[in-house]
């Protein structure tokens, strides 16, 4: 599989990067005349794949989208796509015919045969939801020029799960909220989000934990609210409020326990720069503190982009792709996801990588 070492977008920090890591717009679309994926036979699923692949924009000569057939890829590659936020967990765990088309810059990707025939996402660094939406619509327009999309006069875009009908759009922002966690304010955020029909999830979306203090906030409602109104609420109210809330929590921490905070940040960096064995959870925890330290101006010499990239590179499949000679001599043989253990060799390799990147 010909993916770059890390998502090219991840190192670029966008607007409000101290809190907002990335913005995403995802559209679900289904073709008419075919059953939804869950009801389709494998033959029909292959037909859907071929149909989508034959569309002008999806072909390799079209728009530079790379087509990856998941049935023909290794479990390590599938896991890499998942760690990169290009496909869902459900998608890599399935065994039926499915594929993902990915743009060269990885900002646009299309899952074919996930829960819906097509799930296209635009993923941008920082708070750039409007731009993500603009690009998603641009792509959607090209799609509907060539494919007949299932739409209902009353229910709008039809989806396999009726809770997604209407706009069938999911806006989400990935937020770094160590301040709210350290001040025990996360529960209030969850309750407020619930009242606003927003979902709060972990680093890897549905069912994942909030590893590294990352939280993904997304809309739940897709019916009765237009995309532009939803976007206006998200960009104009919801995100700025959470960002302000997190910054306030950080200010309180600095005001009340500056020394303790500095100590934690520097200890975290110290650990990352000198540890010889690093577990995944431990890495995420320390990287989160270092990220907070950078945002607070405590670590002027550590680039945010490097830390941002490390959040991905310490993940099991990413770690396996790094050329061994570039950081250490530990050779890790390719294994299936079930065997991607956090064993000693893996932890040694991770520690070597982090030391190399953070100048330990």
């Amino acid at each position: 599989m010909n993916l770059k070492q890390t998502g090219p977008w991840i190192e670029h920090s966008g607007p409000d990067a101290d809190v907002v890591v990335s913005s995403r717009a995802r559209l679900a679309r289904n073709l008419t005349g075919l059953p939804f994926v869950n009801q389709a036979s494998d033959t029909q699923r292959r037909e859907i794949l071929q149909l989508v692949r034959s569309l002008p924009f999806a072909s390799e000569r079209g728009e530079g989208l790379v087509w990856i057939d998941l049935q023909q890829s290794t479990s390590e590659d599938r896991r890499l796509l998942f760690e990169r936020h290009l496909v869902s967990r459900q998608f890599i765990e399935s065994v039926s015919p499915r594929a993902v088309a990915i743009a060269d810059d990885e900002q646009l990707s299309v899952m074919v045969n996930e829960e819906d025939h097509l799930r296209m996402q635009v993923l941008l660094p920082g708070l750039e939801l409007e731009e993500a939406w603009r690009r998603a619509v641009e792509f959607d327009r090209r799609l509907e020029k060539h494919a007949d999309i299932a739409v209902h006069p009353r229910w709008g875009y039809l989806t396999a799960c009726p809770t997604n009908v209407g706009t069938a759009i999911r806006f989400s922002v990935m937020l770094h909220l160590p301040g709210l966690r350290l001040t025990n304010e996360l529960e209030r955020l969850r309750r407020a989000s619930n009242d606003l029909d927003l979902a709060v999830r972990g680093f890897y979306g549905e069912g994942s934990d909030s590893s590294g203090d990352f939280y993904q906030v997304s809309n739940q409602l897709t019916l009765g609210v237009s995309e532009t109104d939803l976007l206006a609420t998200f960009v104009g109210e919801v995100v700025p409020r959470i960002v302000a809330y997190e910054r306030m929590a950080r200010d309180i921490l600095v005001e009340r326990s500056a020394t303790l905070l500095e100590d934690r940040v520097h200890r975290a960096l110290g650990t990352l720069r000198s540890a010889r064995l690093l577990g995944i959870e431990e890495s995420m925890k320390h990287l989160s503190r270092v990220r907070l330290g950078i945002a607070l101006g405590l670590l002027p010499d550590v680039p945010l982009g490097t830390v941002q990239r490390l959040f991905l590179e310490v993940q099991p499949a990413h770690l396996r792709r790094i050329r061994p000679d570039s950081i250490d001599d530990t050779a890790l043989e390719p294994v299936g996801e079930d065997r991607m253990l956090d064993d000693e060799r893996t932890r040694r390799r991770r520690a070597a990588l982090v030391r190399h990147e953070l100048g330990g």
């Binding site: 059953p35 939804f36 002008p56 829960e115 396999a160 799960c161 009726p162």
Partner: protein
Amino acid sequence: MNTKCDKCDQPAEVHEIDVEAGRDVHLCREHAVEAGFQVPQSAPVTELLTQFATMPPPGEKPTPRRAERPTACEHCGATFARFRKTGLLGCPDCYESFARQLEAVIARSQNGANAHVGRVPDRSSDLVDLQALRRSLIEELDRAVASEQYERAADLRDRLNTLTADEARG
């Protein structure tokens, strides 16, 4: 129709007119396939089972409630019971088949909203035809490859590529 196959005693399933010979041709499924006719697939077993399961027992008239609320989608055979279990519908037509039940489900999950507001595709009238053409070309190509008719497959692939290039331009 109770016509027998021209070549055996099985009931004929394919009825064609042989223009050159100037006579009718009746063939059973097996002999029709042998003679190179495209025989439509019978309904999938699951669909038959669903139809069977939703049929009222002999002698019992369907109740109006049953008639109002179908338990299986006519188009894809998915049942509402399956939807309750998985949360997923079988095809776009399920939205019509289970219209009454879904109204409540959707309203509950969407804060009471009952109609779409926002973007809809700018449809062009010949789109459906193009998609159908593309599908039939792909199906034919599959068949050609499966039966090792490589020249025909190459020809079909060219037609598909031309269609793609035309669309890309238009």
